[in-house]
Symmetry: C2
Amino acid sequence: MKLTKGFEQAACIIVLLATQDPNIPLTSLEINKRLKCSPTYLRKIIRKLVVSKLVNSVSGNNGGFTLATSAENINLLQVVEALEGPIETFSDTELISEVFKEFPFITDHGTAILKNAFAQADQLWRDSLKKKTVHQLIKEAVGDEKVSLYNWNHSAEKRDLLIRKVMNSIHGND
Amino acid sequence: MKLTKGFEQAACIIVLLATQDPNIPLTSLEINKRLKCSPTYLRKIIRKLVVSKLVNSVSGNNGGFTLATSAENINLLQVVEALEGPIETFSDTELISEVFKEFPFITDHGTAILKNAFAQADQLWRDSLKKKTVHQLIKEAVGDEKVSLYNWNHSAEKRDLLIRKVMNSIHGND
DNA sequence: GATGGCCTACTCGGATAATGCATGTCCGAGTATCAGCGG
DNA sequence: CCGCTGATACTCGGACATGCATTATCCGAGTAGGCCATC
């Protein structure tokens, strides 16, 4: 009954993208510079966010990922369910029906009653997380600081590459 | 983010014990006659219930398990936490602090904010389950039927054994 | 016949393997850029 | 000098291994009852 470790990564990714200039996609490699974790697994996480329509991906050169919508429109529940699928803590395996099969009045309702109890609890949990938007949380985190956009792409390598290309275009291939 | 399969077994065990004459302990083998699952694993489940003080165990001949308290005093949350330990859906691995270490105003609060968000949601979930007592659920399941005590121990083998012993005591060892 | 001690059979309890899912890795698919060629 | 074409380098995307947690198993510890010898 814990969220997977991947969720914490997803949360960080969302925050990074939320503070990234949406015109400049962020590559998984750049994200990986900050999240020191398996680069390929990171992509799997991001992929889930893409499938869930929280993040856009663009292939090819200068491609990468951007937030699919504004941070105001993304809440924690969406991030959780992007990774974990629909949350249903109690998974019924018909065990109760089997155990009490001689007692029809239990078989008929027993499982449903337990399911409902957990469904109610789950609903409360979901509703609580639904109210927390990413934007709201970021603002809460930075406090009085203004929430500004960064370009996390500006890593040393990228800059060097850019400079080299500019030099080339000026001096020709040398 | 699912409860383990073991929980469903635990729920059945609790219900069985709740409808069992508390003077007659129920052996794990007897329980296993109904819950067609790994007998030894079943014991591990029951063990957790014992450790959590929901169930009493008595060793030795004619031993077994009984409910430690009345079904009115047992709620779903207790059963869940007996198996899964304290429920905390978001497990912090300091990832956020690491990712945003250059931004002290995030590092300081960021993780706490996320933790709190989930702590709130978890609390609602727990409270909801805490309200559902086992007795209440059983009554709901059986509807108008009276909740009566069974002795689930009355299996064919036990009865046969008993008869054999009685015969022996009458006729001597033959 | 009553009583005490021993013994056996039965119970639970914790250390030890096997399976399933989350995690981690690899190679292929697709696309925007860039260079070269032709007009 | 401009536009087209092809190659290329870079990106994401899905099929293939690994590790840890849940699930399953085995053997040992402890206890209650029964049998037998003794008084």
